[in-house]
Amino acid sequence: MAYSEKVIDHYENPRNIGTMDKADPNVGTGVVGAPECGDVMRLQIKVNPETGVIEDAKFKTFGCGSAIASSSLATEWLKGKSLHDADEIKNTDIVQELALPPVKIHCSVLAEDAIKHALEDYLEKHGKTMESLHEHDHEHEDAKA
């Protein structure tokens, strides 16, 4: 299997491997996949409650090189983003950045799922829903209309 240079770089030098305290109210955790499917991804974000900005992100992944690279890249992108902007990260962006071949697209889908689950977990801890992230989107659209 020929991996792109970026995949190999993330695989050999993964960014932000680690574990955060799941119970911390400022931490959101997303675990997706299953061992028998060959991929399990765990992505965690730490949010500054004052600013709503993701200050830190960590991952651990059981999976192929592309799955490791997809989650490693996701943590890089998450840092410094607002929750709203984090939810805008699309699997297709990951596919493009890492030049993933068609058979590895599911790795990027899994990474997007992991981001969403982490956001959801954080929001739930604060009594909010994913929809709440995009309330203002509609206002903007309404305003434009």
Partner: protein, 411 residues
Amino acid sequence: MSLKLPIYLDHNATTPMDPRVLDAMLPYFTEKFGNSASRNHQYGWDAEEGVDYAREQVGNLIGCTSKEIVWTSGSTESNNLAIKGVADMYGKKGNHIITAVHEHKATLDPVKRLQKQGFDVTWLEPNSDGIITAEAVEGALRDDTILVTIMWANNELGTINEIPEIGKMLKEKHSEKDKPILHTDATQWVGKMPTDVERDGVDLLSASAHKMYGPKGVGFLYVRRRRPRVRLTPIIDGGGHERGMRSGTLNVTGIVGMGKACEIAGQEMDSEQGRLLKMRTRLEEGITSKLEMAVINGHPTKRLPGTTNISFPYVEGESLMMAIKEIAVSSGSACTSASLEPSYVLKALGLGDEIAHSSIRFGMGRFTTDEEIDYTIEKVVKNVQHLLDMSPLWEMVQEGIDLDSIEWGAH
């Protein structure tokens, strides 16, 4: 001395040719190029002499006469000839065949074809140690059993089946006339371990040259001539070569190479066995002492000296292969690793799909050095540790979480 990378540890897939074998073959390409079936001139006689000498070299290695060797293109053909040849020749006598689920595809597929044609097949399952015992075969015997086909050593695990015990049991339970024929695919065995078809009660035996430092594309089927005389229906008809059992101009260069390979294997077997066993132990201990989760598959001792199959739970198979890309090894079966199906051999031992995927076969050989083994240990330990550090599953296991208790999401 610097190491040549990648390090070749896939000797169960194929071996490099021994330079001594190449030297023996060379004259038969250019000078003694005759057709061994040409009876009228020196060229033919020279070629025939080379072929006959090779028959003796093989005979010396496995304890048979030179008339009992049928040259083929390799073990796949030998297995096909043995299995289909017996079924066709003895089909009127009986309808039952015994084999095992973790045989090589070159046995499974011919047997499956016979099953489709109406033969009854018992598929023996190994214990978790991977071994087929004489007791298991005995339990499956029927009055209409015509063929027992069990490999001598397994290609993925290196585990050794009880072939001499099976041979003995069959002889004890049957008269010479009624005895089911015992075929063994000895591709991984011959040349590495002492073989005596008389002592071991084997009637048909398959082997390939390229697994024992000979050329690819040549092998043989040993066919017992007496007590009992085994007859086979050929699958290739033509000029009636090889006593009618396998027509076609003989691959003289390949056959000469196989003969030489057998001669060298016989001479060096004792010292090689000891050397490879030491090397295997060094590799296994080097890895398992530093990676506590690593598991050696198959029977702890009843295995070929140079072969080991190790599972690395909690790391994923493809990333594992990436982690040790400087070591040329096989994950799953060499013949099926083009597909992402987990190895059916490891599944037969009761391993789950994900662990089967994370398993590696290390196959050491005649030219493997201790230095290469030490390099392999270092790379495997370092890079598997890197993957473990990244693995959420390993973290959970260390926290004492039972992974089976978790409801994983579907995807």
